[in-house]
Amino acid sequence: MNGARPLLPQGAELAAPPNRAKVMATLFAALCLTLLPWVDGLRWLLPDLTLMVLLYWCIHAPRLVGLGIAFFLGLVTDVTHGLLLGLDALAYCGAAFVVLSLHKRLEGFDAPRQILQLAPLLLGKEALVLTLGLAFGRGEADWRYLAAGLVAILLWWPLATLLDRISGRPALPEKAVME
């Protein structure tokens, strides 16, 4: 089996598994990126980078990130949005829970194939925030913000590749075979 994935990690991955510092640094960088003063007219296109990086680490380092970090990041996002406290925290915890329970399956796919499974989550998070905001009586929702979910889907592949490079994970072989 030439292209088969080895049972044990080899090479770079074995030498440098994702460590806590790297995970925290990338999460912090993603949070900073979302806090940058973006142009107001394009706010609704801004994907939730914090959530994407969080989900990446939920797949590849489920021992280092968990629901606690998801909850905390959600709270911080809530405070920066000035919206209801706990709204994004709930969405982040939900997404992290789904990915953590499926991480063994998701780990076996490469980034483009992961998109198909993560798309409902990334879109669903935006929809959940909008619907819950409506349910808790925050006036009219701006439904253009759903587009942020679509942008997040498009950005998953480049982001996962970048994080692969950062964490030193070797790319999966072309035809990964799940034994």
Partner: protein, 287 residues
Amino acid sequence: MPHTPQAPLFVREMALPTRFALYVLVCLLLLALDTRYSALAWLRGGLNAALHPMQRVLAAPWEWSQDVAGFFITHGELKRDNDHLREERDHMRIAQQDRQTLLAENNNLRQLLELPTRPDTASRVAEIVQTVPSPFSRKVIVNRGSAHGLAAGWPVVDAAGLVGQVTRSYPLTSEVTLLTDRDQGAPVQNLRNGLRLIVSGTGSDRLLEVRFLDMHADIKEGDLLYTSGIDGTYPAGIPVAQVVKTEPPRNTPFARAYCRPLGGVGRYRHVAVLKPLEQAPAPTPKP
């Protein structure tokens, strides 16, 4: 599990679904506390104060680039600006003289009629540092907070008119809800005939509306609406909006009027936050 480093030999923690259920409970509790009782101001304030320096640092390069762009301004532009400002200053001086005499006359008349004097307001200038990235509300963050003496409820104006109201004050920043937010309203008076109305936001930057208007109310296109001062929050006489269109009642017993906000809602960088009146507002005499 070879792919998950730092895996413990024995699992000593709660199962994932249990932990998830706990976190969901906490989130729902937070949501309920925040919406129903607004009991979490301290948590929000604390986290915001911790995040504020980070946001300032992140915004700094952008501000520097603005400064650098502002440095390379031509002599002609400066001269034109200067002339324009000089002209405007002269106009202002004349208007100010007018205002002084009118104020004196007003005070005299009030004394003659034994009405309480018009209360004065103090103002504080603040700079808009950020808009709130939320699909629900029209809010901005200004760089003055409770440390500078600001408090929730204070009206915010700019050179052209009413902008909004401070809705949350954090230690170093404050959240200003713009007049165009759907939940925001201001009591106004029609300048032409003194008709009292309430103007509310629609969620769009260029449109305000008067929702429950009497079918026969005398309001026309082009009317100017000023704050009436009867709510004790907004001082009287701040320009708010100009009527753009009136709509006869269709399915409801009420008519509607649409207006254009006069203040630069979402346009200016600097705003003035007014300290509200200490004592009960003086009753505005009907014209």
